[in-house]
Subunit: 309 residues, 2 copies
């Protein structure tokens, strides 16, 4: 089934110990949709400026991503500049120009109205809520957020959390959101805020899913599931790894007839697989040129890396 | 088969957010031997002072650990005092009194001479080498070390590393030893220093084993294996978690007829299992009172936590 993502489509300037790119296609919705496109049809809602041309459009088109929901307005696209020279695990933001994103008001094309899977990438929770409200046929909603919304927009974020099937954030964000330094206690608190499941991404150490009784009603209760990350000799560019994880995770779920605990576990692995590809090249370079056999090969590698038999 | 550990037997004063203990039985050899004792017979070489009495002796005796190699000398036992109030992942050492450990010269009882499995816990690499040399029948040697030996006793440590089947250290130590910030590259470098396998412990994120062609000659090459850690709502006391991991890991290997890749993978899980028990109570409290069924139950939980099917 098709998946709809609402989030940023941007240009990034990135420097890492492996090199630098002055301008590459980025944004959460871009990374997410490319990663998800290997599993299921993807639709995007976002906004871009006049600098988003045929070359950028082609990146989506080659993966058959439906971009009718990307609004083109006058001005420049969202621009972000970051450095990983000090720490590959955390970007140092050098510059953020919201540009056309500043007045982003998501509009949902009529053709998207039947979408059943919705991903709310990291944007203003007011916009996340707005999109959710306009999509009455949605059956499963996952979302992301970040420190800025957690700290300064807590009430708006709380309303979004209530409606989420899964929240995907990193360790720091989970502990900040729960105001709790132990991850298990933090997960308990967050699951009480609304999400039926919480996926915490640990960067080079993989990711953990925490479940509550409402996650799989009627299924035997499973408290948590851990997916490994692939030990990599070079992380060229960590930008978008989390969104690529989300794309692999949710894309796989949307491709399956039913969400079962086994599907959720495999989705965690596909999330980790897509994250591992994303960081191998700058920006979305790697995600643009995967073939399905590579994905299955790496999935098998993740199994070998973590399974006893 | 019996396993021999050489290392510290000590008294610890510990404070953590969960409470404090003014004096509890500790030391690397203590944690290791208790954890290993659930899998295989254990022999200990160490030194204690007059403050090590029947009560402490009983802790070993109840687990049928052979303490004939623990030398009793006049003076006080090794004493360590540490705090985890700032950071549960790293002890802040408040005080270290080497006491009788200062002039420790390992003596190997005749009854230990046939031991085939040797664990060199974190002590002066000169002593590690000395014990290794005195044990000609040993078939497999694993070892630990720490920042102090890596930084200031590099040449001595280098000689020990050459003879190791597996080195078990944490992320920080691995990166320091290899002078390399990427863990995969660090592992490559360390495997070139001698150890046939490297096990890197990630604390709350589990552990990764790195292999080289010499690890399992003739077996299909496997580059790495990751064991998860159990997400815990309370880490009462992290002291000895790494030694307990080593005890579970090496104890399981020594209990098996042959070291195969499958045995190594299960050993990683048993290591993580014993580490997860160790941190549930202060000192060795939890490791003293396990029953085998609990260990198997937790092993099953680790499988459920990490396996797709």
């Amino acid at each position: 089934m098709a998946i709809l993502v609402v989030g940023s489509v941007a240009f990034d300037a990135i420097e890492t110990p492996s090199g630098r790119r002055e301008r590459c296609l980025g944004g959460a919705a871009t990374h997410f949709s490319l990663a998800a496109s290997y599993f299921t049809p993807v639709r995007v809602i976002g906004v871009v400026g006049e600098d988003f041309g045929p070359q950028e459009e082609a990146v989506f088109a080659r993966r058959r991503i439906d971009t009718r929901g990307i609004e083109h307005v006058s001005g420049k696209s969202f621009f972000w500049s970051g450095s990983y020279m000090q720490n590959l695990n955390e970007a140092q933001t050098l510059r953020t120009d919201l540009n056309v994103f500043q007045s982003f008001s998501p509009k949902i094309p009529a053709e998207y109205q039947d979408t059943e899977f919705l991903f709310l990438a990291n944007i203003d929770p007011v916009l996340q809520e707005d999109v959710r409200r306009k999509m009455p046929k949605v059956k499963m909603v996952c979302g992301d957020t970040m420190n800025y919304w957690i700290k300064d927009h807590a009430e708006n974020l709380a309303r979004v959390l209530k409606g989420l099937d899964a929240l995907l954030i990193n360790d720091t964000e989970a502990k900040m959101l729960a105001k709790e330094s132990n991850l298990v206690l933090a997960a308990d608190k967050i699951l009480n805020m609304g999400p039926k499941a919480l996926v915490v991404k640990h960067g080079e150490y993989g990711a953990t899913a925490f479940f509550c009784d409402r996650t799989f009603p009627g299924e035997p209760s499973v408290c948590a599931f851990r997916a490994p990350a692939l030990p990599l000799a070079e992380v060229v560019d960590p930008t978008g790894a989390g969104d690529s994880f989300a794309g692999g995770f949710f894309g796989y779920i949307a491709s399956q007839p039913k969400l079962t605990p086994a599907v959720f576990r495999r989705a965690m692995f596909y999330g980790s697989v897509m994250g591992s590809f994303a960081v191998e090249r700058f920006g979305t370079e790697r995600l643009q040129q995967l073939d399905p056999a590579e994905i299955e090969e790496r999935f098998a590698l993740f199994r070998q890396l973590s399974h006893l038999d």
